[in-house]
């Protein structure tokens, strides 16, 4: 099965210091936007066009054994659109939180619609934050405090409260 993701780094030398973000959105335009916003914030970015592809990248795909070591072990943040055909961002969030290997990775949900029940549902399921689209550079800057530091394998939150 052919899979395609798109990964890109910012101009800085990659010593493994840049946070690596996985961005999931079914809209190509929005993927391009979020990728640029993240690159401008000195992040390495991988994009996926839907939930199943994102899970595969994380090594959580249906066909993959749980202990598969994937390149995804260094993902510091997952940002996903809510409204996607097939698997929604909420369903993707649930799958990630159910995984012993991936549940610590902070997940941010984006949506063009400001629906309180939707927001609460996501936060209750463990989303770090809910952001309204279209995202701006200032929104992305705020995300940095949520990114998991892979050099320190601790459970503490880096950003206390909003």
């Amino acid at each position: 099965m052919a899979v395609s993701y798109s990964s890109s780094s910012s101009k800085e030398m990659d010593y493994g210091e840049e946070p690596h973000v996985l961005a999931v959105d079914d809209s190509l335009i929005d993927r391009k936007l979020i990728e640029k916003l993240l690159k401008n914030s000195a992040c390495k970015v991988t994009t996926a066009e839907n939930g199943p592809r994102a899970l595969e990248y994380l090594g959580l795909g249906d066909e993959q054994p749980d202990n598969l070591k994937s390149s995804a072990s260094k993902i510091n943040l997952i940002i996903t659109d809510y409204c996607m055909p097939g698997m929604t961002g909420y369903e993707l969030l649930k799958k990630i939180k159910e995984s012993s290997t991936m549940k610590e990775i902070p997940v941010v949900i984006m949506s063009s619609e400001n629906i309180p029940t939707r927001i609460n549902k996501c936060l209750e399921e463990g989303a770090q934050e809910f952001m309204l689209k279209p995202l701006q550079q200032s929104d992305v800057k705020k995300l940095r405090c949520h990114m998991l530091k892979f050099s320190k394998p601790c459970n503490s939150r880096l950003c206390l409260g909003r």
Partner: protein
Amino acid sequence: MEVGQLQRQLVDYTASLYNEGFLDDQFTQLQQLQDESNPDFVVEVVSLFFEDSEKLLNELARVLDQQAVDFRRIDAHVHQLKGSSSSIGAQRVKNVCIAFRNFCEEQNVEGCLKCLQNVKHEYSLVKNKLETLFRLEQQILAAGGSIPMME
């Protein structure tokens, strides 16, 4: 035309697009994302918007033409168009999409058909305007000038 004149023309033209509601702040955000590592960013994203929109508008016409109108399908397409127009700052297109979705919810075929006409109209207007904008920018660059940044 000399560079200074072209630049003034561009500034005035751009300002009019904001004043007339064709573009909103999101377009400015897009321009601010462009840099030397991505000098064609805005044109690339807007071109994607044009391609995407044309497909969606054709699909919408087709679905609305059916005997049994599939409103869920229409809503999905309009949602996509609303999203992409919002992402690039095409305000008037986005606003028609909002009205369009309301008619969808009400399962109002007449209303939907009207909105389709409106959105096609607004889309072709903004496409025209943006192409003119890009042409002006190209003229400035060709004449050796630089693109003035909007505040």
